[in-house]
Point group: D4
Chain length 252, copies 8
């Protein structure tokens, strides 16, 4: 449920437009709505200003769709990550604005326009194969109302490519850096700008990359102190916390 909708309902009650019974029923699901296999946390919108996001991995398509329906009952917009096309096929008939971001397997439904915040999030990814993870960050950050710019294939072995982006880098309020293999890009970017860097290691690589471990360790040991790291391939988390950092600027 959006904060907006909660405020409206409270005011409707105050002004006598809905009965006590109606508002109590409305508030009943506020902490969470229990679907049996899931407790949909509608209260989150109060704590976080943002509804729960459905993480599709490990859930059956049927479970994803039921949770989506529960969210849709309380929120105009919602986001599903790591969803398959099977989920999309079922959802697009129900929601006109349903969109499938095939690269990163995310689904968005936007029944209300997203209001864009002022600050900009920059996403820089090291190699072509890192693009899907970068796109999950992109979809998430845009869904949360941020201006986002994405620049790909700027890995450190051709250092002039990232140096060329210095102007773009400095125009952002927060930077997401996505890299697999040696995970070296965040250290370089962290040294170039006076901004918080959210580093996302990817599982791209082979052999001694050990599924992204090499990139993860590289980023955790970055010699630039303005780098913090999220889980391997966690584009969603990077987009989410970058949005918080970006939007925190306005509200105080």
């Amino acid at each position: 449920m959006t904060l907006k909708r909660l405020k409206e309902t409270l005011n409707n009650f105050k002004e006598g437009e809905i009965s006590e019974e109606e508002i109590l029923s409305f508030l009943n699901d506020l902490p969470y709505q229990d679907l049996g296999f899931a407790k949909v946390d509608h209260h989150r919108v109060l704590r976080h200003g943002f509804p729960e996001v459905i993480f599709g991995k490990g859930k059956t398509p049927q479970q994803i769709i039921e949770i989506a329906e529960a969210l849709a009952g309380q929120n105009p917009n919602f986001l599903i990550t790591s969803a398959g096309s099977q989920v999309f096929d079922q959802l697009q008939s129900r929601y006109d604005t349903c969109q499938f971001h095939a690269n990163c397997q995310a689904i968005t439904v936007l029944r209300e326009p997203v209001q864009e915040e002022k600050g900009k999030i920059g996403i820089f990814s090291a190699g072509t194969a890192d693009i899907p993870v970068a796109e999950e960050a992109l979809v998430t950050a845009r869904f949360m109302g941020n201006q986002v710019t994405h620049c790909c294939d700027v890995g450190v072995a051709g250092i002039h490519r990232i140096l060329d982006q210095r102007k773009v880098l400095r125009s952002c309020r927060v930077i997401i850096v996505v890299a697999g293999m040696d995970g070296a890009l965040p250290s370089v970017v962290g040294g170039l700008v006076n901004l918080p860097i959210v580093a996302v290691p990817t599982s791209i690589g082979y052999g001694a990359s050990f599924g992204g471990l090499a990139a993860l360790l590289g980023m955790l040991n970055s010699c630039a102190p303005n780098v913090a790291v999220v889980n391997i391939d966690n584009g969603f988390g990077a987009g989410y916390i970058a949005s918080m950092i970006n939007q925190g600027k306005a509200d105080s």
Copy 2:
């Protein structure tokens, strides 16, 4: 060198108060000053608005002091982390305001007052033994001009202790969570507030904590999406990036 000092010098030249020769000599060390064993990056203050911090580990006391002298020549204030008391003994005779933070082995010299920014950084540490890492974050964040509040011993096994802090948590712009052992605190805190969380795993623990690996992995796999992680025991990095997040709010 501070931005302020660079601007003054450029204006002094413009207004004829110093000669071309003098300003060239001044600018000579701008990119970095070469001490032989170290290249002190005075240019950093332009890129990052903040002078290089001396990371003491692995350097000899003599090297630390020479780098400190080089920084002191260009900056009123400077910070040394992981310094020993031996370094402090030598520096305190030269700098009146030199202060040793024994818990975390950091040294600060503040010859100009630090101007305090508006937003607040909250530091929450799980156990008593995690305090030294939390204090490194505290010293760093205060040195960089942030309001900081620190609350310790609020680990999740007595959940009422962190729940009691909800009001404090919500008064901050960014939260640093410091925890060893299971590293579970950031997930709980991340769920309580709509703020970016910088999680610092510590090497506190024994056996299967494997020097902080357990806490590190726990934090990277946090089910709260607003958590990003720095290296084990890296209180300095947490304070640094939290400062960037906090202060980013004002400048756009």
Copy 3:
């Protein structure tokens, strides 16, 4: 073989209803029945009060069925874990009460009603994707004659969901906590109740969860001292030991 059946047979011999030859033949398989590829441990029922459970993984369907037949010859009820539907298809024609628990791939045959013990086992799982492991614990604990309650999707990132369950938690004699990713739930639950906690890490997660290693380490390093841990995804073991803890209460 059940303890009951053994006692009956011994008494039948004592009262002359069966001959010495008959009882010797009966006792022949007592230590174990050798099927060539397996030694079915009928003696276990004497040591453990409970027949061997068939662990299906790594056995061919044919092997599973032969062991099941051997157990069925001595026990009214039996349990197979990690069995495929192929095994179920063959067993259900032979045993009326054969039931397939598809979520966790377990099969139960209950030809005698299970007598329910007094104490209650509570199972709390962190995410929707952890349900299959929780269900293996549930099926096992019910098969062994315990009252069981299961509550899912109470992960720590929405802490109010588990706090809501305090009353249920306190009504149990032993708690099973099932969680993947950061594995933080047992530490919180362990702090809330004065009960033994059996923690089950799951392989749910991605990237730095390393197949459940992160959750496993988190649980082993729990700051709550009333937490013991079983193998990753080992719902069966959790249900089994929880049953022992629960039923131990009555017999002394």
Copy 4:
């Protein structure tokens, strides 16, 4: 604070023996007493029926003593694990009954006799070098009011030694097994008795024991299903949860 003392105080208030002001002051520290560097959780005694135990590792002697004083103000008895002799030297002058268990570095203060529960906890350790960890479990379990028996040097490479103990094993309600190196003992013991086994891997070993990792993995992969595992060298945790299992039997 003990439950007993809390009840007395409440009744004193009810019967007018203490004023409202007095009881409020008394209840003020109930959730926890804040020492600055630690929040002593006096509320624990209500949740867990047992005061907080002080884990000495990572705390300074001064911090340990201040926490001990805070606990001593509310509880007749308290326990400190991983304390050094330096702490003991200071405490024994203040508390007559203060006792140092040098093998495992634990300190107990028992100003009220511990009431012994009916069930028995059996501790079986594999090698002579595992004794300190076993003793930590012993001290903890005795402190919590359990009958405890300890039998050492019964590792599996001389299998007749543990087989000799079958009668003792079966006289217990819960078994703690302590083993380093291959960690094989819990699997054997788990097969011998129908009881919950709490397995404690130790860091005893060398080379490929990797600080207890080999024993830990062995125990987690035990083919006996009645085995749950605590952290490497965590004798305290084993004693604690075994006490809960043992004493749970009486109260329902």
Copy 5:
């Protein structure tokens, strides 16, 4: 080539039955025969008294067959491990005595009877799922001319099963123990008999077995000193070295 055949040929030359040219051509391939993608080491039979065994994994069926043909040109008997049924299909038409051991995917061709040595090798495997690895050891040891006995499903959680085998154990000259999961069986067997134990960890297990790592570490840390270990799932190596140990007894 067999030692027998080499001796015959040398004598044939000595007695003039073959020319110098003929024997030189014969000796040409002695060190190895180069197939382009492989150097078939015919010299091995002189150094090891046994022809090279073809390890099928990672080779194409075509490569396996070409190497088999090269060996067949010099040796009456040969062995292929980790071969698929596709290789068998092609070889069985060429070699009457070709036999496929489906459990462990090994192929044997025995055109000359194997002469059985006096000592006996005992193979003891812990669980039903460990049988394929045990069978690879069995096939290898029999191929090399040893008496072999195999006893399966004698894991330590039902310790009476292995204790029942003491007589068989003592009738052997060397013991192979095959176990997955906790890998505890070799420690128990090592304590029961005064014989060298070759321990084979298997990849059987799940979760924290990490593909056999738990069993491997358990065996390397065995508290019985008469245990040496081969690679995970390496039934072939165990059979090979056990044969050397067994047959070494006769020749000195």
Copy 6:
């Protein structure tokens, strides 16, 4: 773009054969050509004397082909590694000289003859299954204009096979050694010759080879000091750096 082509174009401009506008357009893509999903680094030929190589893994066939086209616009010859046959099918219709090296999945297009350098690179691989990785090194080194010799199946367990190659070994300027399993070959080869050794661990093996980790560690710990190591299965990198070492000899 080749250095040759750049020089020609610059001279054409100097001599008035192309206009300023034409040369500017030509130089526009010099640093890199932006395809949206990739920045093709044409500048590399100036820095490295060699165009970018397309690493096919993690890229879609369509992306590989577009990058190939971009390279083909500037370079007569190009190389794609880890490409599938699907990519080859599309490229061979466009480029006559397109060749698929099926063993290692590499594709070469050679529209200009490669000029062969004087020094020789020797590639020695330990087992038949290591051949694909060795061939990737071979294809790369030949593409870069080196004489290459490849000798396979010379693993250390039949030491006479590599000792036989001493003459070949000494005829080279740099040696590539490819080995899986124990990774022991580079130590032996490193001791035999006074040449730099580039060691390539492969993922060939099973069990405790852990995907090539065993071979990698073995090579990093080589007791021969003239060994440096590339990533597991990285035949391309080995061929590349060996080419640099070989060709460096001529130009100074």
Copy 7:
């Protein structure tokens, strides 16, 4: 107790030289003698033909000496490994023949001459720093009555050194190979001789040797099939199992 002594005592009883009471008292300690902190396994001499060896690591000097006294009461000879000089100082005053092997910290007491077996054990170590581990194997094997030859510094990077030893290698019945760093020596030796190889990885090395892990993995993945491995630095175990292999030859 030695087998010899047991037989004598039984015959003394049979022939009336000692009473029933006397022999019962003598047999009382047969299974094991309980010292409180240790159960000395006198029965071992019957099962293994060899008394328990005292592994000194993790035991206090006092414990070692008490166990030594217990063994000395039943056996003429005994061996202590990983003992310190402090233990030696106390033992040498009591036992004339007490000898300290300082390199490997072992102590032997030989009050009866050791009878030498016919076969020979060869010990080959790779580097000078591996000698202490090799000496532990040497002391153990000699103590157990084997002829032993030791040849050191024959690592594979100077392959002619081990090739020079071929004659010695072939004169043995079993070979122990001791190596740190890359652990490559057993693969080469395994290929040279038709004998069982017991490989001992050592913790000698640095960096990516990870305390002997590299050598351990190398040996487990040896491409020679006649190699089995013991724990890192476990010279004692290698000597022990080699003795069993060597002496097994005589008794059948």
Copy 8:
């Protein structure tokens, strides 16, 4: 022994200046000189053009000195790495030119001037704390007759520092890059120059650097293909192979 000395001796014999007996005695130690605990490989100078280097770690001072004496008997110059000052104290009285390189604990004795080769080796180290490892490479490379330049503190977080060195980089024939923490520098340098890069990870760092593992993995996964890696902290190996690469240029 130097090649020069061997040639002289052979010619002396040819020209009758020394007798057959004398040259045989001289040649006796050619393959290696056996010191009991070490086989000094004088033959190496023929195979490698360079005498054995003494690796001091794990050897006693006495052993180091004896090996040094043996080398000194055959070679004018020699090098000891990881030697302590205790060794130096004893050697400097015997060899005038004996020099201690305290930073990296290496000792050199140069009784003949080293002839400098034409090409230059560039050593670039990331941080001040990496200097000791870089110096081991420097000492080794100079000892072997190379021109060497060393530039320190050019880590990637201040990327302008390494970009400033492009001219120096390009003046070299081979580059050694030394870096701890994230190990990112080789990827950047590898992209800047068309030269072979020998990357040396160091153990500098803390927490998730895991003793240099992070830097090692980063370097192995470098996205620049001209990077090969040596062991953590292996400055000697880097200097050695770089020398071979550098000097290889001249001799063909």
